[in-house]
Amino acid sequence: MTEGRIYLSELEVDALTELVNICVSRAAASLRQMVGRQVFLSVPSVEVVGRADAVNLMAERETGGLVAVRQDFDGAFAGRALLIFPEANSMALVQAVTGGELSDADMREFEDEALAETGNVVLNNCLATMANMLQRPLEMSLPGVMRGEGARLFQLDEAATADGVVLFLYINFAISERDIRGYIAVLMDLSSLDSLKTLIAEFIARVVGPSAAAEV
């Protein structure tokens, strides 16, 4: 990713991508368990952009007609994780996670609840893994369901320091045999680039072993 290179080396971007890859994979595994079907993931795409640019970037992605389960987190780094799919898909997802045991009426009644629960399992798993991998504690909010036009899915905390960077990533997923497709997005406001670099270095050293990391 060209933009990211301004802030992070290729290797650091790679490492970040891998970190997210690991987290989302774990989340996908829990989703798989819930729906009892295959869940396919795409190669993750990570962008690291300056804060000012990020505001534009987010605005561009601000589009309606989506349902999202959102979970915010705070700690060494703050951010938000989102499980996003088209509004038209949400009932199918509810049906998939509830194993078709509910009537249509019940499903509609529990739709938001079921979605929130699904999101909770998937995103929690993802974020927990991240905290684990980076060995930093993360505090997580309760999941909330957002929908419809104007939902500011990617809204950033205006108060955050202006010189920070924003990490923005996508992973697409598809649930086989169900027409359910969506994506997981993770948004991290990394107000201190130095601390991120430190975290990445630590992560690299941990996963490949200190000797291999020093080799580079």
Partner: protein, 766 residues
Amino acid sequence: MAGPHDMATGADMPPHLTGALGLWTWDLANERVRGDARFAALLGLDPGQARAGIAAADLYARVHPEDRLRLRIAVAGVAQGAEVFAREFRVTTTEGVRWVQARSRVEHVADRRPQSFSGVLTDVTEQKRVEDRLDVAQSAGGVGTFEFVDGFGTVDVSDQFCRLLGLRVADTLSVRTINATVEPGDPPLIGGVSNAEPTFRSEVRIRRADTGEPRWLAIQGERRIAADDAGPTTVGAIYDITAAKAAEAQLRELAATLEQRVEARTQERDRLWSTSRDLFGVVGQDGVLRAANPAWLRLLGYEDSEVVGRSFLDFVQADDLAAAGRMWSGGDAAVALEDLDVRMRARDGAWKWVNWTVIPQGEAFYAVGRDVTERKQLEQQLRQSQKMEAVGQLTGGIAHDFNNMLTGILGGLDMVQRRLASGKPAEAQRFIQGAIASAERAAALTHRLLAFSRQQTLDPSAVDANGLVLSMEDLLRRTLGERIDLAIELDPGLWSTVVDANQLESALLNLAINARDAMPDGGKLTIETVNVQLAAGAQSELAPGDYVQLSVSDTGTGMSPDVMGRVFDPFFTTKPLGQGTGLGLSMVFGFARQSGGDVTIYSELGRGTTVRLYLPRHLGEAPAAEPKAAAPAPRGAGETVLVVEDDPAVRPVVVELLRDLGYVALDVSGAEDALAILQSQRRVDLMVSDIGLPGLNGRQLAELARDVRPDLPVLFMTGYAAGASRRSDFLGPGMEMISKPFAAETLAQKIRAMVAAQSPGTAGAP
């Protein structure tokens, strides 16, 4: 070569893939990697060794140092539970550096670390190269590309793709972000119905995300069957077609309004046709008018019906027929004719000068004629005043010459008187001779001046240019002054030419004056005549054929190319105010062209100038030689000549001369007395009359004389032919003119010729 069955893993591989893909299994627990023959070949390993498995560290060692750690991180990611493994890296083999891609998918099982994972290895060196080139091509060609897996929320896009939509450059965009740029009502760019076809192309209107500017994009793509279970993939490209769309819209608009515009244009043209002051005519190749516009009525007084169906030439003055005939009878029908001045007869008999432009078009000619009568009149006046100007330039020198001549005459007569008084008449003869010579020179000079200042219309006749030059020699020498040497080099075998002699004289004088002005410190003026035969194209303006070339060269200042380019323009002059009108050369040019010839100028700054006149060769008989003054005067045989002259100094001289020559002379001082004689029974064989008589003038007298004696020959004497500008107009049949002063011999010749032409008796009494 190792087959698929050789795979250490025992997994059965589709045979057709073995060549393209290397297969491998990564043992995470023992940090070893096994692979098939293709895998070995791609990494430059021994196939046997690869099959048996190599240490992961050995594999890393083969990876390009810059990519090594990135690969390690990816492998570590899988070990940590990442499901997707995809990494491109360089390996160094004996054949050089090669880009390879390793891909794998591992299913993560909660609480269990994967022990090993298997995948494929492909050579992407070529692909990388192509991608690099594609990148360049994409931004140069303004093509953005995308790849989209069915149903996924995001699309992999190229930088140019983002730029075309006015989005920030990114590798991935959400489908909704992309489709949000599309104008409401248009199909979405990504995931629309059209994208369902195996190949598709559609056009979509968008509004750029950054500027809001509306643009047209074409989207073209192809659907590919899923490479893995993720679903079918759409690969495509977008490019901007706004300009093409705008052109298309314009074209459609043009087509829609074409009819309307054609009609408007037709109306415009009709209006032009009917309201124009210019004559419009459509003429067939036979020269017959097919259509004429209302200007014919306004300018010339003809109704449409009086023009259409008649030959164009019917309206043209006889003198201009030859020129007008070229308008369509000329062989080269494809060439437009411009700027042709022709006199057209109006219905009331008046003549109008019309400047024609004729354009051939298919079977017909389109002729547009502008009334230039007024301009022509002005030109005529200007020409006249220009001549007077030239005369004015001469007067200083001429007055001096004239005084000299008068001195010769008066002095001579004085001497005669003295000799006679002193009783020595024999000695008087010498002085009489001298006085006559001086008087003759004076007469020649005034003759020239009058001829020059007289209004002349073009009266082409056979002219001996050599004779004309020689006759002007005297005048020229006086004009040029003492500091300029005059050389005359004449071709003794010179052809005669058909031009107006007076105009040619005028032209020569103009050229000589120009040359004189160019040589303020003196120099040499050369007048030369020579025959030339021009081949086709030798002189672009001239038809091939025979010409008489008259050139005037000087050793003066010469002209810069800038001046050269403008000398023929009327009123172009470099001379101080009041000294030049700038009409000299334009007159020379007009004369040459009108005579069917041309003028060329060759000039070099500081060296001099040569002006060449090309005049058409006269193909008939040689011009009648001027009567030689030395020839003995032919005598009469008692014929009766009536002399009408009011000047008492002239009349007796003429009468005496006639009697000396053997005629019977009757003399009267006015028209009335003359008529009385003519109405009587007296024999009259010839009437010699002054033109400027008191009361009835000579011309009117001749008119009345013809009433009573229809065949009476009349010889006019004139000092100044004002009003007789065109000889042929003035003179009827059997009439001649002689300019005063005249030599006795000239008069004798004229009278003899006229009387001889008259068969005896017919001119007798009524």
